[in-house]
């Protein structure tokens, strides 16, 4: 792959050890996928989020304090903070088990490029991410 066509994707997902193969086609294509496991860790890496090419976000990530400290839709609140407080305009693709249509509406207001429902095939994720990145 042309080095310039290689993208950097930050994947905010706490279950990445379990579902790691879902990004294999993207990595085989030459894209770099950096893993972030909590909302707190994401906020510690604001510069990386600002400069990467795409953020892949799960709505159900832990806050990042004690184990199991899931608030409701922490990923949604994180995204709101990235957009509204930190003015981060990086394209975002949401990948989540989300079924709540109200949260769905809130996400669309935060300028997400796509909302994908887990489980998803790795090939489908690759297509959706590359579409969001504007890669043919």
């Amino acid at each position: 792959m042309d080095p310039q066509a290689r993208k950097t994707i930050v994947w905010i997902e706490d279950d990445s050890p379990i579902i790691a193969p879902v990004v294999v086609p993207l990595e085989r294509e030459g894209h770099h996928v950096e893993r972030v496991r909590t909302a707190k860790e994401a906020l510690d890496k604001l510069e990386a989020l600002r400069t990467c090419d795409l953020i892949l976000l799960d709505i159900f990530v832990p806050v990042g304090g004690a184990p199991g400290d899931f608030g409701r839709y922490v990923g949604l609140h994180l995204l709101r903070r990235l957009r509204e407080t930190h003015a981060i305009k990086t394209p975002v693709v949401v990948l989540s088990v989300l079924t709540n249509s109200r949260v769905h509406d809130d996400l669309e207001k935060l300028d997400v490029s796509a909302i994908l429902r887990k489980p998803i095939l790795p090939s489908q994720l690759k297509v959706a991410v590359e579409q969001a990145l504007g890669i043919d």
């Binding site: 279950d15 379990i18 579902i19 790691a20 193969p21 879902v22 294999v24 086609p25 159900f60 088990v97 079924t99 249509s101 887990k118 489980p119 998803i120 095939l121 790795p122 090939s123 489908q124």
Partner: protein
């Protein structure tokens, strides 16, 4: 409706009837999510003649339902509310986990208090001016309003509220326990979906990698594909499980989104069998077809039809194009959605039997197309719950059968036609028995 829901509604009606019998006041329980108001049989008999006349006016029922909805949702604590036509209701909101879930509305009364009654009279006059009924209707309405029961405010506060709070407490306990159960189901399905995501991802990567191993026996590649298909089928079951146990919640839903989701879910399996999934949905007056639906349930039904169409298709090949066609068009007050395939076929004497639980078509019972024979029965129940119908035909085309499942669903008329034609959402909110 599940048996559990049905039992709960029966108990609700009984409690409401007991209250109505003691107080001789009509009482209803408005559900904030479903926008339905449950009345007991006795409660309905307690309706003021004035109210019945108002509802009989053109568009009167819709106005009353809308007004009731607005007051029920706006009530922040127990309070008297004045309806659009000039009668008072006592509104008691019920909150669970800080969220308004239902409101008890009772009364349809005037209040024996000068100031309060003056407001009611003024509202009544405004209502008549807006509606402009005929002279006879106006006279009847004025007379009925003047005869509406009038209660002292002390009686409302001292006598009527006690039992109201009993109903409130019962409903609160019921809703809390249902929500707890729903949360548990959500947690379990969430956990399942995470592991299923891992399984699906690994299965597809395995298939992709084995395709590259040209020296490998074909059976190993096919086995890997079957693992992937099994994981995909398990995905649908897991997704449906948690969703399906929830109550029906009707809202405007795009049929196109439902059909596209079914295509997305089963496209990979179709591709592996050499089958193309085609979708052609006609618009309605230039707009996408919309239905009043409980989305998760309707999605489940359409998933079943699409998956069956793929499962029971004969596999395609380069000289034998195979497709599953999902087509839709308006048909009077219904939207007609058909799912068609070339494949195994169904004999005419089985058309009714396949919708019975546990029956599998005689042409479909073989080890390569496993199925429990329950999916169509459930799909039919869901469609009927949406006030729709489902039919099947299967025509022998010599090399295969052309089988068509056709679903008729009442669709939402485009905006501006609701009051004239009575959309399903308005029907759903009509004064009925819940």
């Amino acid at each position: 409706m599940s048996e559990r829901e049905s039992t709960n509604i029966d108990i609700q009606r009984l409690l409401l009837d007991i209250y109505a019998a003691r107080t001789r006041l009509p009482i209803g329980l408005f559900d904030v999510e479903t926008h339905r108001t449950v009345f007991g049989d006795y409660s309905l008999e307690c309706f003021e003649p004035y109210c019945r006349l108002v509802r009989r006016l053109p568009g009167g029922n819709a106005l009353c339902e809308r007004d009731q909805r607005q007051r029920a949702k706006a009530a922040s604590h127990g309070e008297l509310t004045l309806c659009h036509a000039g009668l008072y209701d006592y509104a008691l909101p019920i909150h669970v986990d800080g969220q308004l879930v239902a409101t008890l509305l009772c009364g349809e009364m005037r209040i024996a208090d000068r100031e309060l009654d003056a407001l009611a009279v003024a509202r009544h006059e405004q209502f008549l001016q807006r509606q402009q009924p005929s002279i006879d209707e106006q006279n009847a309405l004025r007379q009925a309003f003047s005869r509406a029961k009038s209660l002292p405010i002390e009686r409302v506060n001292n006598e009527l509220l006690g039992d109201l709070h009993s109903i409130e407490r019962w409903y609160y306990r019921l809703t809390s326990s249902q929500r707890a159960l729903t949360r548990q189901i959500e947690d379990v399905t969430h956990e399942l979906q995470i592991w299923l995501q891992g399984l699906l991802a690994r299965a597809e990567i395995l298939c992709i990698d084995l395709e590259r191993e040209r020296d490998l026996r074909r059976e190993y590649r096919e086995e890997a594909r079957e693992v992937l298909n099994s994981a995909l089928a398990l995905d649908v079951i897991v997704q449906s499980f948690g969703d399906f146990l929830r109550s029906y919640r009707f809202a405007p839903v795009s049929l196109r989104s439902i059909v596209n989701e079914s295509r997305r879910v089963y496209e990979e399996e179709a591709k592996q069998r050499g089958i193309e999934v085609r979708v052609e949905l006609e618009s309605v007056d230039g707009r996408p077809p919309m239905v009043e639906a409980s989305k998760v349930h309707l999605q489940h039904a359409i998933h079943n039809l699409v998956h069956n169409a793929i499962k029971y298709s004969f596999a395609g090949g380069f000289d034998r194009p195979r497709w599953v066609q999902i087509a839709g068009s308006p048909a009077g007050q219904y939207y007609q959605l058909s799912v068609q395939n070339f494949g195994v076929g169904i004999d005419p004497d089985e058309y009714d039997k396949i919708f019975e639980g546990g029956y599998q078509g005689r042409r479909t019972v073989d080890e390569y197309r496993p199925g429990g024979g329950r999916g169509l029965r459930l799909a039919k129940r869901i469609i009927e719950r949406h006030h729709g119908q489902i039919r099947v035909s299967s025509i022998d085309q010599k090399s295969a059968f052309l089988t068509t499942f056709t679903v008729f669903l009442p669709f939402i008329q485009p905006a501006g036609e609701e009051d004239a034609h009575g959309s399903p959402s308005e029907e759903d909110h009509r004064l009925d028995r819940g």
